[in-house]
Symmetry: D3
Subunit: 338 residues, 6 copies
């Protein structure tokens, strides 16, 4: 029976200046709809899982467009709420070479940001679901959404779902201190912790985990942190990515997975970039898919790193790569497929 | 010496679905920056007048882009304020034939909407200016902006400028009753009243002017109303347009100008439409230009109607037609200009 | 409880030369996926019904793209078969003014055309369904698909579904004589007969119905034919459209509905055309929606004609108009919706 | 044996602002290559005749591009000269509704304009040719090109070719008086005279032919002039078009052909316009094709008017319509060709 | 006197998803027409040779478009046959970085694939020709086309033409065994053998040549194979390319030419890729041009490698590079040419 | 008080083949307006300085468009002259990898090239100005413009402005000998000399400076030359850039600044290229800005090299990078700016 994953969060209209133009040059914007948890849902649907995304959308053409895009890529929107005033927007200026990309958020007062905990019917949302995924962005938006995240995680655990969280710390949304405090409250409901944001959390010794890391951390340094997280918060898996910038559009990637016993390390890959956004979400989806499919850890981290890397070559927020393409990537064949 | 006109209001990012697509089909949006008073400023600059637009813009790439577009078409932005959180946005779905156009506003909490009266230095703004133009949209946004409009008009009158107002009633922004009350308070500072919104005002007899108009008004009915406005509020000129819809993209146009003595009527014109937005602003600019240039009323209304009609054939919010093209239009020559 | 409609047929990749270019000028083709019964399914989904489309798609990127488009617009593809060699294609050269549109089909040997009756599980397909719709194109493709159509209709009737058929005679696919013979065999399973193709059928007197129609038929002539169809084949509703060409991209439209008692006639509408393809399918969807929703016949035919007319203003094969827009159209308001 | 037509003249790069933009809005220009005589050559090649275009092109990427476009549409360029400094350019701003189209020429000092009579080898150029066509634009460019035109016509007549000339008076290139003097010198070599420019010539009575025409000329007025031209200059056929502007992009068309005995009048056609440029050239090609194919005059003028009208629906300078489409047009069928 | 080359094969419509999109993202496809032997013909025409392409095209807008593109780039289509049902199509998904390109063929039942040997008049086709080129794709399509290839090669040899063949083994079209058997039958008519497909052939010892090659072959290994081919099959020249994938869009290239005595090796070049398709055809054209022009082998292989490498920077199937650009490349100057 | 810089030169319409197409493939051209000194003016305006560009433009839509673009990016055009016949044009074919870019100039007889010294009112032009910048292109166009350049420099010096010159030797415009002679005459009015064109000048020993440089010059070699220039011509600052081609679209950059005492060397940067045109102008603007702002030489050269490098990532002629982005670049942060 096909596994079902639920993700919850905000989906925004992304408006990108085309052809590496700066926004001040743009006469048009390319439009896609994306957001961390929605991107994870799309990627999982493309892998063939049942995938349901929960959010609140405004009842206008933009809300409909966002829903249509989710449906187009196979994501169920049956538990999406409708109402509120606006869809969040973000403007994207794609960088090149030595010119960094820029993101301008215009997401305040969105239908999702203004939604209330009691609007969400988690009994219906989690019916038949196996896994629940969330990110550290939603609780950062406001206190109500922090409560929403908490209640969602709590309920998911009660109902026996596996839970994952991409901690995803955004300094524009909250201070490091606040993030640490709030995420530490949520982390106890999380089975699988993704992202380098474990660093946001408190270490075993009550000190910032971040402070334990030397400037140029080696694998062993990460391992020690992950062991603490495992022990202190009962996290079953910790997965994280590492990115070195050869340039804005060429990055060197690697990723790690800790299963409570060992730290598995993917091979390293250099990738030229078409779209950098949503690559972390592709990684999360890769982790969820491989763990839900009972991959061995060493295969899971290779698979997830493949998802992570391949997403850099896909325009738009979401990873549209089927399993077969991830597998082909893992054989490193670069010839034309005829 | 070249005359200088100041306009004040909001400029927004307009995002239009291309090629008559519905928004739910759009993969990109064409981007221009527009707003009633900004459109008037652009048109006047294209006519060769000195033209200054006053607003508040956010200090980001969108604010810069809006300012760049004003500068591109010759409008001075030296008195533009910078700050606030966001630029207002509106989404535009261009209709066709029997399918009407749609506009979705997302303008709340914009830098301009949140700006304060005391931020504006009207001594500097009105230095060397001959004319001040405003619309009924700004006072409809909130009480602070109503006060801003009032102070601007008051100051302009004190400094000896001619003032014009395109009353422009928008039911989405305020109720008819509120509009009537507020606009009646402003109208006494206005020399030239544009738009069919005089109807929003109170008649001499204390009743709604609108109620005096039969269902299918004739020229005489308008005349009687304009005489009241002239007498009651001291308005020197009243100008208005009339539009019949042959279809969504084919309209029959005519316009009227009352100079306190007579009602001048333009010839009628049927126009196929490329962009319907900003046509009223083109008319306002035509009225301002012809009156500031001392055209005879019968020529002024023909000129303004030409501006009004020609704008329907120009993509974007603003009329980019130079004087010479309006004059060519008035000779009704449709051959290729080689 | 929301009603469910099933449609069955072929969906093709449509490749259109952009900007009214001739194909010999085109450097690119706009791509959408469409086909009569798929278009009906999309339109019904946009109206809010449950809508399921049944076909066979090749297991490649084009098959996936076709399915994605159906999903995007809310159509269920859970009963779509996968396999076969290719997706049918048609090239579209959009005409203008006095230059007619052209369609080049390249649909032979498609996955659907090569599919077998026994591949379809009608028990699953018709579970929970209320209505089944098909067209005269599928049976025209080959004998196997004629048998498929027949079995589908037979089974639908057995299971108590209402059935509709857009007879849609295409001279490129089969001869008039063959069409008449075969469609006469199918028509007994049809409750609602759509299109002017009733004329393909045999009249009560055993003569071609077509031969009974004078060159410039009046309403009464249609009525007499519909009465025959009702009596001879037990058809409950006959609906048909009429189109006069003012020019290639401006048509005058009207439609008729016969309910076994009276002939209801819609008002006439002149429409400028963005995309002529799929307008008949929009009409079918309008008929199905209004009958399944128990509209009175006089309202049903106005609603369906609104769908028919509005589709002319939508690019692509499928009608993306929600109910609210059809209703707005019926009030004939052409102003901007702000 | 297939007939061969030679045309001689200038081909320019045409740069058009896209999507009805004004040039001051354009961020890109659509590029085609065109010119009166080149357009005639393309149209004739599309009709299946052998067609050779003679000009001089610069040896750079633009010269190559112009030649490629001629070859693409089947025109032989074996007698094209290479050299000189630049390709002539013209900028095109397509009008709409009440806004006229504009053309800006930048053609001075082009390779063709600077070419010399002695560079052209008319023995080779006219080998196997049956017809030679030229326009009144080339002799207007400068004295050398006037001499080139004269020598070409003279040689063509000596070699027994039929000659045609689209007199095409352009006031931007020379004065009416100069045009009259020069064209009168050329006209004696012309068998088929096309365009309303016969009016440029001297009448039998030594007065301007133009002066003989009343303000609103009727068919009889044209007939009298054509009789004079026939008698005075030995012109065998005179063909001309008439155009009324319903609007900039909707014209009413008709055309006339005089064969030395009678005046044949085409039916009238109203056409919506995609591209107005080159319509006269399409008419010339229609006249040449129908006369070289021995059509009866009444059929020739209908065919040529069909070419003239259909070209209005084709983007670009040249008519890409095959014979079969002209014939279909003549049956006035506006349905989709499936 | 200019040399003339004839090539024979299939030309298809290539539809590419734009901007590195996956096909499941594409809303349009870029359209060019290409095929191995047609690409060779275009490249040779661009080098200034007489070049004639022989195929069979359907009599519709796509067949005409394919022919137009050949003509545009200077290829003669005077011996093209017309008829049959469809033009073959292939869909192209351009890869990037670590995501490989994909090609989906939809070429079955094309006009060329269904053509018969007796339709081709080789006396006319080879009149005045100096060289005949073919590839291993045509004989792989079906037995009739194998016979066509054989007859074409036989006749070309009889008439004294030089023959070349790009063996081009495609596993999707036939098995390795069948390819070996069939190509061995054809190879005796071939003077110049191009591609690494010599490996498809039988070695002198009756064993597969492929089996003689170590996993990481050195130059000497190739040499030994080429000597066998020379001796066993009388092949005068063997040319082959080598490609290492730095990434999907960055390759390291080198090529070899054996003249029956020595093996000449080009310098190595790393190239970033705009379009990978047709690069082997560009190499073939480089070999043909340099041998027909009597280049020394060491220059021939440098020239052909330049063609090969430069084609990677040209969008579309065919190499549009003139001789002068290949020569400039050989001087390795990367500055702007002003 | 904000500093004001005046630049003088030609601005042209640049027409670029899109998407790395060769010009012979292009169906459209992207249009921007640019020229060395205009580009410098735009960049300085973007840095927040007052910037005025002086030229002569034709009174047509292209002249207006050029002026609009200058205004859009904040450059004052109050001293632009209007008149003459045409705007200069250049066609740009962007190279890739191993295929070099090409520029085709069509600038003869432009309004600026035909302008006369006496048309320019330098009293007005230099009012309130602090700096005057010019390049070696204008004096190369013709003798009159050499005189214009000389008079401009002379007057600027008289009025106490700092002067800079980007010597910019173009072999297509004049011979090395003529350039040396003429530039030597101008150099005495120059305070800041930019570009590697100092080499055009005469050395202290009366020999070509160029001849003093070894084939692979080291920093010391440049230093010695700069000392000579400083001593012989009184140049206060000499700045120059160095470019190595990794490939056509990947360059290694470095730059030097000599202040009459020491040679400052920037760090080296490898940059991938979106648009190579105008990078030298961006460097000039960086030098002018940093010197006018009293940066220390070591900071000035880093800043200017940042401008130089970043411009390679901006489409179009002009650098649209604000100060803040140059500063961010100098911190070498390549992450997304959220």
């Amino acid at each position: 029976m096909m596994k079902k994953v639920v993700t919850l969060g905000e989906i925004m209209l992304r408006l990108s200046a085309p052809n590496y133009q700066k926004i001040v040059q743009a006469q048009s914007f390319d439009a896609v709809y994306g957001g961390g948890e929605a991107n994870v849902a799309v990627s999982l649907a493309k892998f063939g899982l049942k995938s349901s995304f929960v959010t609140k959308l405004p009842q206008n053409a933009l809300g409909t467009s966002a829903e249509q895009q989710l449906n187009r890529f196979g994501v169920s929107t049956e538990h999406v709420l409708y109402g509120g005033e606006r869809l969040g927007i973000y403007f994207f200026e794609k960088g090149f070479s030595i010119r960094p990309s820029k993101v301008y958020y215009d997401r305040k007062n969105s239908a999702f940001a203004m939604s209330k905990v009691e609007e969400y019917d988690f009994d219906a949302i989690f019916a038949d679901a196996d896994w629940f995924h969330i990110s550290g962005i939603t609780p950062a938006l406001n206190e109500e959404l922090f409560q929403l995240t908490k209640k969602a995680l709590e309920t998911a655990k009660e109902k026996g779902l596996t839970t994952s969280c991409d901690l995803n710390y955004r300094s524009a949304l909250w201070s490091f201190e606040k993030a640490r405090e709030k995420m530490t409250e949520l982390i106890k409901y999380v089975d699988v912790c993704i992202g380098i944001e474990p660093l946001t959390l408190l270490g075993e010794d009550g000190k910032d985990i971040k402070d334990q890391l030397p400037e140029e951390p080696r694998v062993e340094d990460y391992l020690s942190i992950m062991e603490q997280l495992h022990e202190r918060y009962g996290i079953r898996y910790v997965a994280m990515t590492k990115r070195d910038h050869v340039s804005v559009n060429c990055n060197r990637l690697q990723a790690y997975l800790y299963d409570g016993r060992e730290l598995y390390q993917s091979s390293e890959i250099v990738v030229d970039i078409i779209d950098r956004v949503g690559t972390g979400d592709a990684f999360s989806a890769g982790i969820i898919y491989s763990l839900i499919s009972d991959y061995k850890p060493e295969n899971a981290i290779e698979f997830a790193t493949g998802c992570f890397a391949l997403k850099h070559t896909i325009e738009g927020d979401a990873n549209l790569i089927p399993i077969s393409d991830v597998e082909k990537y893992m054989s490193r064949s670069f010839s034309i497929n005829r």
